[in-house]
Amino acid sequence: MSVGSILRSFRRAFPAFTALLAANANACLVCGGRCEPRQQGHFGSLCRTCFRGIPWITRVYCLICGRPEHCPDCVRRARAAFVLSRSAVRYDAAIRAWIAQYKYGGNEAFEPLLGELLTMAYRGLCAELRLPPSMPRRFDAVIPVPVSEARLLERGFNQAERLGGRLAESEGIPLVDALRRTRHSVKQSAKTRGARLRDTHNLFRADSAAVAELLHSRSRPDSCRLLLIDDIYTTGSTVNACAEALADALRQAAPTLRFEIYCLTLARS
């Protein structure tokens, strides 16, 4: 190890030291100083109270979209391009505030926390699909739902890509940014169900180079299992449109390939 590399690793570690010295180093990420000290629960950055408040989805009602109650959307949808979708938590006021802080407020300190939530959802999905942890490459690729170029410049990051990237890294799955948004649309959260369904038609297309890379890197020759990542599942129109675009591209590039597209989102509203 050269002197230079030692120095470099010191420099890399330095922000961690300064973080330790910062005033509220062990304050809860969500409620700040309001939590009792020494009550750090799981999830590193959360205090016990906030951790207990996480509205986990422990039992799904709709087997397609993973909604914890009756779901009219999946019945209405003629055929979905994805096999099934699962979410980590219900989209309640607390989760809404966390995601808003991260996405719109740009508070990237929430990223590890949300990444962990997604990882929990991933574990749940694997257990449900009976994919044992010993199995190599349970999924062939993690594919984030893209945001438009304008949004990316404004926000500085794509939340689905960041969260997917964390999952991909911890689980050893390649992250493939295979989808593109063809036009800039109004925020989904500002639209009604009908408008969402109409607007998402042809909103995404798959990038052929990325699809080729994806096909090249797959582990099994005849089949392929893909995981789409997004932050919030509301009507499922976004992930469905993404899955359709992806499916079209895969059918074109490798007509004989059997593939399954699963979706994983942070919150189910």
Binding site: R11, G105, G106, N107, E108, L152, L153, G156, F157
Partner: protein, 678 residues
């Protein structure tokens, strides 16, 4: 965001700049006709916009150094952070021919190398180089454009004057103002406004910079850089003043680099290294070349009001109908404000230390009036939103002719400009050098007290020769010490507006509230004191330390005093405003509450009970404030105040001592009514 970096050589000088709209910069530097046209248009328009502009050259430091001989631009846009570093580190001096290109290439390579040294990922660079930008084929072709653009730049500069805004905020402001002009042809998009803002910056009417930017090297250490030492970037949020400890570096899609953002002021919109902060104040005089004093008086841009001497406004305090103590304090403050600035004392601060119920608001009216009479703008800031809302009608009534803007989170008037601005202290982040008079009320209240960000914002909201007036009934110890040592100009108002002494708290020995709640009864001392207050028809404040004790205590008191309506409220109570209203209206007679009601609430004929007065959360200031809820009205000037606690603490004794000493001073100055009777 990414910007274009360029370097210019002109005679003996050279400089580096960066641009949001490079075509404007090239025309400005390479085509003297364009520049003259823009300046002319600006001067014509300049009259209607009040500004201390010294019609000087841009902050970029070009001056009238003569014709730009050569301009080279980097072919790829660079992250704003690097662009700032290049401009900052530019050596200046004469750089003929290719040496200009080489210096630019070297500094840009240095900037990326700096990232690598910090251990940040450096993206693969597209092949880029410094390219010579030729002069326009036919000089003067863009004259008409220059005129139109300068007019828009001027309008933008006037609207953004005194502000410190992020790009999204500036666009919202320009849109709200309908700044596109009567035709409304230009929507408030960034691409439409960038050229105008860039031109305004070139003309020195705005300052553009990174929202998070490296601190300039201290002058004493500049020799190290001259010797070739690597710059050590110490980032600072230019909006809230936070340092490296509050920065977080994340990969940024907008600039393609791991750039830092400020976590401290995140709630006010994200301030980041590659994000622009638009300052609506002219560059500092030394950046422009010569001081404004040298420039001829006849200059049309200098509005007459600004040039007026400070003494011009003759204060006539009689119209404000103040008490003797208030008049004395207001005239002391006015004398300080109107005195010519002391160059050795750049921080013009004045502390108005007025007891609770002294009528602080009335005392600031003459100060505001004098600022307005000089043609200046006044700001009244307070940490609490409810206080802002309460102040609003009073200010509007006192100054019916003035444009009043009230700002708080979610305010409708967010982007308006007025002569008097009322704001929560957090809103001050959006202002820079905008006010001649900055009054900060309740300086010892949360969240202003102990928050260096808010102090930074308040300090920067005033113009360089403006005055900062601090108001408090309980100034923090540091300020009291400064006042005592004569380092801080101040005046004390030791008496209430009704000229009766402050009620002196009585000590009542009693077990802690936690224990009371477990017991069956209540101590005799407490019940009889409460009973006496109820019988005399007073409104009762009962303060406790913790929110969780509010409801149980209210329930317990209801059992003992079933004849009256008792309620409890805290910061977590959604009906808080409603309950306070009912309490004022005497529908509720006894209100159990926490420190949220310790200040800003005036209820006629009230008595105050502070339980657990020895608790950690009740410091001296807090005790004085709570005690100050009693005896505020003219009809019932002598309320009762009780400190109920098992122990007597330093906070309690010094609070009582401070109240007593204020009464003593008032008596000595003959401010009390009882003196007159004698």
């Amino acid at each position: 965001m990414k910007v274009v970096v360029y370097a210019v050589a002109a005679g003996k000088r050279s400089w580096a700049g960066w641009s949001l709209a490079p075509e404007i910069d090239t025309a400005y530097w390479l085509d003297p006709g364009y520049r003259a046209e823009a300046e002319l248009a600006f001067r014509e328009k300049g009259n209607d916009a009040p500004s201390r502009v010294h019609d000087r050259q841009p902050a970029a430091g070009a001056g009238e150094a003569g014709e730009a001989e050569r301009l080279v631009a980097w072919t790829e846009p660079l992250p704003l952070g690097h662009a700032l570093a290049v401009a900052e580190r530019w050596p200046g001096g004469r750089l003929p021919g290719r040496r200009l290109d080489q210096t630019l290439s070297r500094l840009i390579a240095d900037a990326w190398a700096g990232d690598a040294r910090l251990g940040l990922p450096v993206p693969r660079q597209p092949a880029a180089h410094a390219a010579h930008v030729p002069r326009a084929a036919e000089p003067g072709a863009g004259r008409a454009d220059a005129h139109a653009l300068a007019a828009r730049a001027c309008r933008a500069a006037a609207l953004l004057q005194g502000r410190a805004l992020l790009v999204s905020e500036a666009l919202a402001l320009l849109e709200a103002a309908g700044a596109a002009g009567p035709a409304g042809a230009v929507p408030a998009t960034w691409s439409a406004w960038a050229p105008a803002l860039q031109l305004a910056a070139l003309l020195g009417r705005l300052r553009l910079g990174g929202a998070v930017a490296p601190q300039p090297q201290p002058r004493l250490l500049r020799w190290r850089q001259a010797l070739g030492a690597r710059p050590r970037p110490r980032l600072r949020c230019q909006r809230c003043g936070s340092g490296t400890a509050r920065m977080r570096r994340t990969p940024c899609a907008a600039c393609g680099r791991a750039c830092a953002y400020c976590e401290a002021c995140l709630t006010m919109g994200r301030s980041r290294e590659c994000g622009l902060l638009i300052l609506g104040s002219p560059g500092s005089p030394d950046a422009g070349g010569s001081s404004p004093a040298v420039s001829p008086r006849s200059e049309p841009i200098m509005p007459a009001a600004r040039a007026m001497p400070r003494q011009a406004a003759a204060p006539d305090l009689a119209v404000w109908n103040l008490s003797p103590a208030q008049t004395a304090a207001a005239s002391a403050a006015l004398a300080y404000i109107n005195a010519p600035g002391d160059p050795r004392q750049p921080r013009r601060r004045f502390l108005l230390w007025a007891v609770t119920g002294a009528g602080k608001t009335e005392m600031i009216f003459p100060l505001i009036a004098s600022a307005l009479a000089r043609g200046g703008r006044a700001l009244i800031a307070t940490p609490r939103r409810d206080v802002v809302l309460e102040l609003d009608p009073r200010i509007r009534k006192a100054f019916p002719g003035a444009a009043v803007v009230t700002l708080y989170g979610g305010s409708e008037q967010r982007w308006e400009q007025g002569e008097i601005t009322l704001a929560t202290t957090h809103q001050l982040f959006r202002f820079r050098e905008g006010f001649d008079l900055v009054i900060v009320d309740e300086i010892d209240a949360f969240p202003y007290h102990g928050d260096p960000m808010l102090h930074f914002a308040a300090e920067n909201a005033r113009t360089p020769d403006g005055t900062h007036v601090l108001l408090s009934a309980t100034p923090p110890a540091a300020l009291r010490a400064e006042a005592r040592l004569g380092r801080l100009a101040h005046v004390r108002v030791p008496v209430r507006f009704h000229r009766h002494p402050l009620p002196v708290p009585a000590l009542l020995s009693m077990p802690p509230v936690r224990k009371l709640l477990r017991q069956r009864g209540l101590p005799r001392g407490l019940t009889s004191a409460l009973g006496r207050s109820i019988d005399r028809g007073a409104q009762l404040f009962v303060f406790v330390q913790q929110i969780r004790d509010v409801e149980p205590l209210a329930a317990k008191l209801r059992r003992f005093f079933p004849a009256i309506v008792i309620a409890g409220t805290s910061s977590q109570d959604p009906d808080r405003t409603d309950k306070v209203q009912q309490f004022r209206a005497r529908a509720i007679r006894l209100l159990v509450t926490t420190t949220i009601l310790e200040r800003g609430v005036t209820v006629p004929k009230s008595d105050v009970f502070i339980l657990d007065a020895d608790g950690r959360l009740f410091d001296e200031a807090s005790l004085i404030q709570m005690a100050g809820r009693a005896g505020r009205s003219k009809d019932d000037p002598a309320g009762n105040v009780y400190f109920c606690a098992p122990e007597r603490t330093r906070a309690q004794t010094s609070a009582i001592a401070q109240i007593r000493s204020m009464n003593r001073i008032a008596r000595r100055h003959g401010y009390l009514i009882e003196n007159e009777r004698r």
